[in-house]
Each structure stands twice: as structure tokens, then as C-alpha cells.
């Protein structure tokens, strides 16, 4: 996790809100550093994490997590982390016959399917065992990323349904958190993706949006992060929004106010 991002968000591994949906999105840049942040953050916070990793391999996340101070292999062995490796599973589904239903069952279907089997998988991984005693604080679902599901033949509505079910189970029933990454292809006129992004934005409590700089590439400032806290209850308080610029380094990401990059001060 990045300590500076924790300060900006006002959270620590020991005290963080539960029952929230956090939406990560990136536009014209790579927002995967946010996924790495939340993965190591929740593992350090002693939560049970179900990570649906659709775009990279396990060793990729593991190597980066080790730089951030967390070992995914250890977490997996202890049962703290349930890791679904999408790339490896897709090869298994396509080329080897599967007997039991697989979480990514929709890959075999010719027409647009649904994510029911994936939801079952998430629910089975995160719901506490019968005894009710669990060493972990609360469950967390992390998805990297949802836009890939659209590329795999699903419709935006199916993905939104899946997120709705997950939110109902993980946030409301189990008092856990859900974090998901969605790409923003707005200038590419990707309508399905736009529907997904808008739909999730309205449901989320916290939106972190990583954007490339409007002026183009810069060596010292890699992008801009917009943080939007949304109040979903109809209270008088309005949504709060903050913008920072960031620079990604080898083991950390540093944040600073707009125009205050250390390189130019």
C-alpha cells in the first residue's frame, strides 16, 4: 500500500470503513497501481480477500506485492487470499474439458452469458464457515478488471448484475468491501463500457480516477488522480472531490498537489 494514498483517503489498515464499494477507473493511463495498493492494503488490514485477477498472472501481482511488503503466496496458503487467475483458467476451459462448473463458465457459451458461476465462486470464497469464527476482519472482493469481461462477450448489463449481487452479498450481508477497476474508453465511443462505468459510478461510495495529463506525457508527473467521495444517503453534505498528481516509483507512488511536483519546485 502507499502511505501517501492512505493519508489522502484518510484510512489506515486498522481503521477503515466497511460495507463500501470503491470504483477505480483509468483514462488514457494505466491505473493498475491502484489495484496493487488496495490488494496490499486489505491484506495488511487482516481482511479475507477474494481477488478475481483477469488480466495478469499470479506471479506478477506477487512480485509487486512483495515490493509493497506483502506475500501473496503466504496469504494464499493461510487462506487469507483466494486468487482466481483468469488467464490460466481460460486456457484450461478452452482446451481441456472441465467436469464441474467453473467460475468462468461463460467463456464456453456462444451467446452472451451471465456471471452467475463467478458470483457463486465469490460467495463461496468469502462467506464465513459454519462455525462463524474467523481470524479475518471482514471480507473484501477485488476485481481486476471489469472491462475485460465486456471484451469476452458479456454485456454491460450482465456485469452490472454481477456487481449488484456481489454488493448485496459482500457489502450488505457480510459487511465487507468491494473494489473494482474499470477502464474508461470514453473517447473511443465504447458504449457498453460507458454504461458499465456510469452504472457503477452511481453505486459507489468512493471513486478513484487516474487520468493521463491533459498536456501529454511528462517524465516527472505520470498522471492525475481524482478522488470523489460520494454520499449515497440523502444528507445535506455534498460530494467531496480532490485532485492530486502522482509519480509512480519502483516501490511507492508519491502524490502532490497539482503543479507542486518536486521536479519543478
Amino acid at each position: 500500500m502507499f502511505p501517501e494514498l492512505n493519508n489522502l483517503l484518510g484510512t489506515t489498515p486498522d481503521g477503515t470503513e466497511q460495507g463500501k464499494l470503491t470504483l477505480l477507473c483509468d483514462a488514457k493511463t494505466d491505473g493498475s497501481f491502484l489495484v496493487h495498493h488496495f490488494l496490499s492494503f486489505y491484506l495488511k488490514a487482516n481482511c479475507k480477500v477474494c481477488f478475481v485477477a483477469l488480466v495478469q498472472s499470479f506471479s506478477h501481482y506477487n512480485i509487486v506485492a512483495q515490493k509493497l511488503g506483502v506475500s501473496l503466496t503466504a496469504a494464499r496458503e493461510q487462506g487469507q487470499l483466494v486468487f482466481l487467475e483468469g488467464l490460466k483458467s481460460s486456457v484450461d476451459i478452452f482446451f481441456h474439458a472441465q467436469e464441474e462448473p467453473h467460475p468462468l463458465q461463460f467463456l464456453r457459451e456462444a451467446s452472451a452469458g451471465n456471471l452467475q458461476s463467478l458470483y457463486q465462486f465469490v460467495r463461496d470464497s468469502l462467506k464465513p464457515v459454519d462455525s462463524g469464527e474467523t481470524p479475518w476482519k471482514f471480507p473484501v472482493l477485488l476485481v481486476d478488471n471489469l472491462s475485460v469481461l465486456l471484451s469476452l462477450g458479456l454485456e454491460a448489463v450482465a456485469v452490472l448484475d454481477f456487481m449488484q449481487y456481489c454488493r448485496a452479498t459482500v457489502c450488505c450481508e457480510l459487511k465487507g468491501n468491494v473494489v473494482a477497476l474499470v477502464h474508461d474508453n470514453r473517447d473511443a465511443e465504447d458504449k457498453e463500457n460507458g454504461i458499465l462505468l456510469n452504472g457503477l459510478s452511481h453505486q459507489s461510495h468512493l471513486v478513484l480516477r487516474a487520468e493521463g495529463l491533459a498536456t501529454g506525457f511528462c517524465k516527472d508527473v505520470h498522471g492525475q488522480l481524482r478522488i470523489l467521495w460520494r454520499r449515497l444517503q440523502p444528507t445535506a453534505r455534498r460530494d467531496q472531490s480532490l485532485t492530486y498528481q502522482y509519480k509512480i516509483q519502483d516501490k511507492n507512488v508519491s502524490f502532490f498537489a497539482k503543479g507542486m511536483s518536486p521536479a519543478i519546485l
Binding site: D30, S32, F33, H36, S57, F58, S59, H60, I63, V64, K67, E85, G86, L87, K88, S89, S90, V91, F94, F95, A97, L107, R108, E109, A110, S111, S147, V148, L150, S151, L152, G153, H183, N185, A188, E189, D190, K191, E192, N193, G216, F217, K219, I248, Q249, D250, K251, V253
Partner: protein
């Protein structure tokens, strides 16, 4: 970026080598320290010809065949990833990059898999450019391809005691250079082609065979290509499924003109294609195949023809490295004095961040290319060049 890896015993300076990828959770990205993983205390893992570890994270890299492009991509193309070349308007320069990639594979002794729907793979291979080698390079090249034939016994006159010793196991003689230069005006010599190992996938030849097993959701053509690739990877052990294999090698996959009407896809013809997800699904499953094997893939796509920009965006998101070519032919830039020495612009749209938060992006984004009589060069576009 100096490409001087030591040859012979293949000891890597960073101590990271590619591990085999099997049905277990290891992928080709996993580091393995020199101390562990010895086969019964036997010989250390020898490096694979034509590869080197990345300076940044030890990731295994192969050359694209263009040293200038290697440098712009952060040292080379990572093994297990897809390089997407967005073709220029009349597809004049992108076949060159495609051929450089394949020629580099032949020079390094890698296995090739060439897939095309327009040209026969054998014809594509005939047109590969000839490598430019100095004398050292020529000798190494002979060794790479004649490594099976034992050296003739040379009678030692002075050090005759040494003749009785068992012959030293010279490891896989790898070409000590990473990245070679090619002469585009000459064809690759036939002996090089003849001693190389390659598999061809020519779509019209596969079009009538039936699919085994249940019909899958991919279009028949893409599914056949995926099965062909998976078959080669599995039978030749690129995914570590055959640990008895003496020498690990890289599989270089080249797919040309992908997504064009030749492949039976209509994304270049209509805006609302019903089957647009076939292409993106192919990219996803291909990524899964590559991540679990010692292979690297180049795909050229006529993205300028794709009507629905959303598909282009999705394909770019699903590829690891994306390079776009923009040629000046027929555009108003042709008469622009700034560009008069060049044939087009090259855009490095995306570089992967593998095992890392950061990546080695080049600081300069204005890059132009020029095809001289013998060489394809990439240069930084500066104001000085205009005068």
C-alpha cells in the same frame, strides 16, 4: 543499451533465469535464483539463445529484430507477451517489422509459428531479410545451426594429453549479440532457412476441417488458430510440459493482417459487427497461452480499417505492447518540410508494466521512421532534421 551478454556458459549477471512453466502456478515471469532449482546438483540452467534479462526486473526479453525498437520498448519484447503492430495505411512498412521479428528468430535458432490468411507462410519466410553479420557473428551462426554435428577430431600435437580428456561440454552456443541488423535488399540465405524450425498456419488450408469437440464460442477461424498454437506449444514443450527436453527454446509466433476480411471477420467492413467479441476473446485466450509458455507473439492488425473504435480500444487494452505505424503516403504530411526526410511516424502507444509498478518509457514521443535502401531506421524527430 549494450547488448553484450556473455556467451558460452550463459551465466546471467542478474541471477534471474526463466523457469519452466508447467501446469503448476509458475509462469515464465517467475524469477528463480541461481542457488535453487538445480537438477540434482547438475548443470546450472543454461540461458536460452537470443534472450536476455531485463535490467529493470529480470524479466526475460527477446529482440524484435530492430535494435532501435528494442530500446524504445525498454530493452526488448518480454517473453510471454503480445506485441501489436497497428499497420500503416497501405500496409507497406508493417510487413517489414513482421519479417524482422521472424528473421531474428531464425538467426537465434528459435522456433517460428507463422500464421497468415493472405500469404503462404513458406512464401513469407522466403522474403525475410538477410542478416548483416561480421565474421564473429557468421561463425556463431554456423554453430547455432550446426550444433548437432560434432567437431572433427583435431589431432593435438603439443597438448596431446588433453586429447584424452572428454570433450568439454560447450553449452548451447548462443549468438552473443542480442538484436541483429538486417539488409532489406537481400533475401535470407537458404541454408539458414533450411536449418530453422518453423510451423505455418495458412487459413485457407484449415478451412474445411471440422472442429473437434463441442462448438466453442469463437469464430471457427480464430478457434482453429488458437488450437494450432496450443498444439504446438504443448507438443513441443514450450509450456514446460516435457521436462525431459534437453534445451529450452523460445517460440516466436507471428500473425499477419489479423482481423482483416481475409480472416473472415467483418469488423473492418461494418460498424455494428455482431461478432466483435470473437476477436477480443481470441486476444484474451492468446494472452493466457503466452503467459504460461516460453513464447512471444507479434500480431499486425489493420486497425485503421476497423470501423468501431471501441474494438480498437479493447484490443489495445488486451495487448501488452502496442506500436502504431503511420506512413506519410497520401497524407498531407507528405509535403510538410518537417517530415521530408522520413517515411512515417512510429507511435509507441503502450508498454507493459510487468512485475513492476513502473516501466521504461522513452522520454521522447516524437519518433519517425525511414526505410533506406538496406535498413529500416527509427529516429527522434527534431527541429534540426527539418533543415
Amino acid at each position: 543499451m549494450a547488448a553484450a551478454a556473455t556467451c558460452g556458459a550463459g551465466v546471467l549477471s542478474s541471477g534471474c533465469v526463466a523457469s519452466t512453466a508447467g501446469r503448476s502456478s509458475t509462469t515464465s515471469f517467475q524469477r528463480r535464483s541461481k542457488a535453487s532449482g538445480a537438477d540434482g546438483g547438475g548443470p546450472r540452467l543454461l540461458s536460452i539463445a537470443g534472450t536476455r534479462p531485463s535490467v529493470r526486473n529480470g524479466q526475460l526479453l527477446v529482440s524484435t529484430g530492430l535494435p532501435a525498437l528494442d530500446q524504445l520498448l525498454g530493452g526488448g519484447l518480454a517473453v510471454g507477451t503480445v506485441l501489436l503492430i497497428e499497420e500503416d495505411k497501405y500496409s507497406i512498412y508493417s510487413p517489414l517489422l513482421f519479417k524482422y521479428f521472424l528473421a531474428e528468430g531464425i538467426v537465434n535458432g528459435h522456433t517460428l509459428l507463422v500464421a497468415s490468411a493472405k500469404e503462404k507462410p513458406a512464401d513469407i519466410l522466403q522474403e525475410l531479410p538477410a542478416p548483416l553479420l561480421d565474421d564473429n557473428g557468421k561463425k556463431e551462426l554456423e554453430d547455432v545451426h550446426n550444433s548437432k554435428t560434432p567437431e572433427s577430431d583435431v589431432n593435438m600435437k603439443i597438448a596431446w594429453r588433453y586429447q584424452l580428456q572428454p570433450k568439454m561440454q560447450v553449452g548451447p552456443v548462443s549468438s552473443s549479440r542480442f538484436g541483429h541488423y538486417y539488409d532489406v535488399s537481400k533475401r535470407i540465405p537458404q541454408e539458414l532457412l533450411g536449418s530453422s524450425k518453423w510451423h505455418g498456419f495458412f487459413l485457407p488450408e484449415h478451412i474445411t476441417s471440422d472442429l473437434k469437440g463441442e462448438p466453442c464460442s469463437l469464430s471457427g477461424d480464430y478457434m482453429k488458430l488458437l488450437q494450432f498454437i496450443q498444439n504446438i506449444i504443448y507438443t513441443e514443450g514450450f509450456d514446460g510440459s516435457n521436462p525431459q527436453k534437453k534445451q529450452k527454446n523460445i517460440l516466436r509466433i507471428g500473425i499477419q493482417n489479423f482481423g482483416s476480411p481475409f480472416w473472415g471477420d467483418d469488423i473492418c467492413c461494418t460498424e455494428n459487427s455482431d461478432n466483435s467479441h470473437r476477436l477480443t476473446k481470441f486476444f484474451y485466450v492468446l494472452r493466457g497461452l503466452l503467459r504460461t509458455s516460453l513464447s512471444a507473439c507479434i500480431i499486425t492488425m489493420p486497425t485503421h480499417l476497423i470501423q468501431n473504435k471501441a474494438i480498437t480500444a479493447r484490443v489495445r487494452n488486451l495487448s501488452d505492447t502496442v506500436v502504431g505505424l503511420e506512413s506519410f503516403i497520401g497524407s498531407e504530411k507528405e509535403t510538410n518540410s518537417l517530415y521530408k526526410d522520413y517515411h512515417g511516424l512510429i507511435h509507441i502507444r503502450k508498454i507493459p508494466r510487468l512485475n513492476n509498478l513502473t516501466c521504461d518509457e522513452s522520454d521522447v514521443k516524437d519518433l519517425a521512421f525511414k526505410l533506406k535502401r538496406k535498413l529500416f531506421t527509427i529516429e527522434f524527430l527534431t527541429e534540426a532534421a527539418a533543415h
